[in-house]
Symmetry: D2
Subunit: 311 residues, 4 copies
């Protein structure tokens, strides 16, 4: 369970107070607001606030005085048109804010997306909680033999147990030593009156990269979709992909027409090079292009055939 | 009057529909929402949407589960602390969206702030309305003799009349010729069946820089304050400053504690160099520093004395 | 000719002084450095400085101590891989700086790309030169009947002459009136001692949108390619496309391996939606998909067929 | 020593090949180019490339055809003017690229500056080297009693030894276990043919936050100065400040006039609020303002007095 009773109570308090607004609202997203959607063993994603809806995209694209919407079907068509032609600015007119709890090694991948606003808890200022990520047995994959940055077969049985025991033992010990360095007990009080605690900004260096951190993360819809297209992709590391998958559910609740276009054009779509297009045209014309005739490298050919479902 | 009856009706319709939300709301800003705050002769600023309030800044700074607020006085103190130490990220957690109507030469200054999202009406796609900015007589200033990018004395009487007549005549003629080039009448219908209209994307080049354009403009609170500190400054050109001044009122309604800190630290504050500080310390100690002893240039000395009210 | 003799002399002086550097250099780009590549009737693009080359992309991707390059063929393969998989950060490690002279209405499209650094001449501070863009007869297109933001047939004969005369007369008059407002003669000296000149920041509003402006514009290679993919595209307005086309030549001289991959994957490539892919797979399998069976709108179907060369 | 012989040889090779260029060069920076400036126990900062010099700032500010420089004293005055009035865009016209080796907990602070381009070595793809940061005894500070994110007195003697032993032992063990998880020996070869190695993207989670990482980091001069003003500040954590201090030396070699203005206006300067200014004016006038009369909080008063050297 990622939440303490206090935290759950704070969230309940937020969900108890409805207010009036003249702004556009999205009931399906209001239903999710503030709730912690669990991810991994101790993580979560929570929607803290949002601005805009599908209609706000149309309104901005038309620079209109009112809602800017015409018929639902026309709005849907316009959103598809904007997505297809990569007219990104109307999507930038919607904004969403998340509270995310995630392991530090995941946070380090995540932060590479620079077009978001971030407030992270400071381990210079605060003592981090004793929470670290241990993979579920189903995620304990060996290094891939073919893909230098991918996973291969599952590690199982004794070997798996050894891996998990080691990860757990190291994280436990390093956290205990972190407390020793800080000279605090589990409640954060001085453990030993006879010595000083090391500065927090130094002690944190002893923690392992699977320790959980938290941040507020705010992003516009265009950049969120860019993030999701990379991080919900099958090539993304599992531990960040599961966050992206929860956020896809949020996207669907928030802006259903945009979500549909995003799934069709981005998540389910594909890009081809000029050389790829020649191969495709030849195949359609009944030709028999080969890797040699195509001018593609072997790797490019394999990737192209995979996209065409011809593996 | 900047709004047509249709436009006013669209705005009224937006203001008529209150909805329920669990998000933080700001009644003082809701009272302004969608309304056109008039600027210059045909321009306006309208708030279209907002995300967050003073409490959201505190909440993000504390990465909290609930509102994150403690006592009002503590929140105010924290906001002042964040402003004083230029901790900008918590302010980035609030967002606001405006609809602005403004002369093109003002838009060209405005767009230099790159940290905002923008959707402008397209004069490739649409025909621009016949609206152009003519300065009020009180703004008709001569070129400054001392400041190459400033205004000097007022131009008055006959000379003023000549200037205004000329600006008006040129804008009128160029707009009429724009319509001729497009081959449209005042309702946008073909004016002369016997000839083609020039492509809109070409015809627009005949318009003058005081023609009004419009855009949706969305920005986070930190970058909005940066924009306002530059554009509400007395050195900013009058025609953009009046927009910034309306937006300051919006800021005050939206985030009053932040507004207070912003006025104290940014708008009313000042920065000093190391050399300036030496002069100040000497003055406090009862010394009589001079431009020569200070190591400052004449211009720097004058600027320093002005900041200290010793002109 | 876009350059005065003084300007040409300044450029020659820059090209006369070779220096020693340990940085990577690109002889093909050095050959272009500082030269004004003419665009439109008075515009140009000049490369002012650059950082990095194809090797710098490889070096950054490998975070290497030395050049990071292996065999040329491996480097080319890595660059193609990075381009294909949209790994954009290594391309961000190269930077280029241009001096561009361009009509204001083109500058307004251009500035929408916010990921560049810009210094524009200030018409608050300086008096703009008397230079305005008049389209060549071959560019005088009528408004398209099918595409609201496109061009249709050429306007020719008498009608063309009328259009050009009008554009020229309005620009001439508005510039003359700009000088009158400023109270300056052609050399920038006071024209009439008996009256004040209007402030420059006001007088500029009387200029037409085809007046030329200038700026320094600096951008990284990744964002430059994004700019070029949009602005060298056939759907871009001709008047900005010609700038992009000159910059493509610069790209080819600067980073030939990247240029090749860019042409193959971006300029010559295409993206397809999930529904598009189903149609393609069906066509390859010898099926006869129709707009109805595909679930695509008529417009989407037409766009898909065009991409497949089946119009 | 932070460099292996191979790495040192690669750097020597880079420094051995001078080339001709027409671009501006900075001999004092060329003298530093590629060299590893050591920081902490295993880290370094290396300049990989640069674009522009002091003259390029002036040239961009004047949007000039040639160098844009007049007399050296005028250029220096212009640079001071631009710095004083926070005209940031001309400084954005210079760019620099670093290779940095730094502990992960430092990298996590550093990356919060989002206006740079980054390529970091990937621990999904590669095995990180066995290098971790252990503070020098002189840096082993206790938690500050007054500043929640600062350091207090030095920890010495037995206590210090215990802290260092523990940090070293945990980093050693966790790295050894990382190798066990990966099933590699010190040369990166399979250690035990009888079992699979855990995927690199998972094994890395066992490393401690003082493990060293590396990246290429590229930034424009304006944003570099913003970074340095925060990270070379006495309030910054020592472990990042030492990097900033090396980079200040680079700044001085690269753009000496800008460096001088930066030291005077930013590093040595100070900002005051409107209320602060009232206190200062009162002090200059010989008054005796107090914390009560000033309207400042106790903390604000203390900070003000510190800036005025009246502690």
């Amino acid at each position: 369970m990622p939440l303490s009773t206090d935290q759950a109570a704070e969230i309940d308090a937020l969900r108890a107070e409805a207010r009036e607004t003249l702004r556009p609202t999205v009931p399906a997203l209001e239903a999710l607001l503030y709730k912690a959607l669990p991810v991994l063993d101790h993580g979560f994603v929570r929607v803290i606030d949002y601005m805009g809806d599908d209609g706000a995209i149309v309104q901005a694209a038309r620079v209109s005085y009112g809602r800017g919407t015409k018929k639902v079907s026309e709005d849907r068509g316009l959103i598809r048109y904007l997505m297809r032609h990569r007219h990104s600015t109307p999507f930038e007119m919607c904004e969403i804010k998340f509270h995310v709890k995630l392991p530090i090694f995941v946070a380090r991948q995540w932060i590479r997306h620079r077009t978001a606003n971030v407030n992270e808890i400071s381990a210079r200022y605060s003592i981090l909680d004793k929470e670290y990520y241990i993979p579920a047995p189903a995620q304990l994959a060996a290094q891939s033999a073919v893909n230098r940055q991918g996973r291969g077969d599952l590690i199982e049985g004794e070997q798996a147990r050894a891996v998990l025991d080691l990860l757990r033992a190291d994280a436990e010990r390093n956290y205990a030593d972190y407390e020793y360095l800080l000279n605090v007990d589990a409640e954060g009080n001085p453990a030993d009156a006879g010595r000083d605690g090391l500065a927090r900004e130094l002690a944190r260096m002893n923690l392992t990269l699977n320790t959980y951190t938290q941040w507020y993360w705010k992003i516009d819809l265009h950049n969120l979709m860019h993030f999701l297209s990379l991080r919900a992709d099958p090539h993304a590391q599992y531990e960040i992909r599961v966050y992206a998958e929860e956020m896809l559910k949020v996207l669907e609740a928030w802006v259903p027409a945009t979500f549909e276009a995003f799934c069709d054009y981005r998540m389910g779509g594909a890009s081809f090079s000029a050389k790829d297009l020649e191969v495709i045209k030849s195949l359609i014309a009944g030709g028999s292009p080969t890797v040699e005739s195509s001018g593609l490298s072997k790797r490019e050919w394999t990737e192209l055939m995979a996209k065409l479902g011809r593996e």
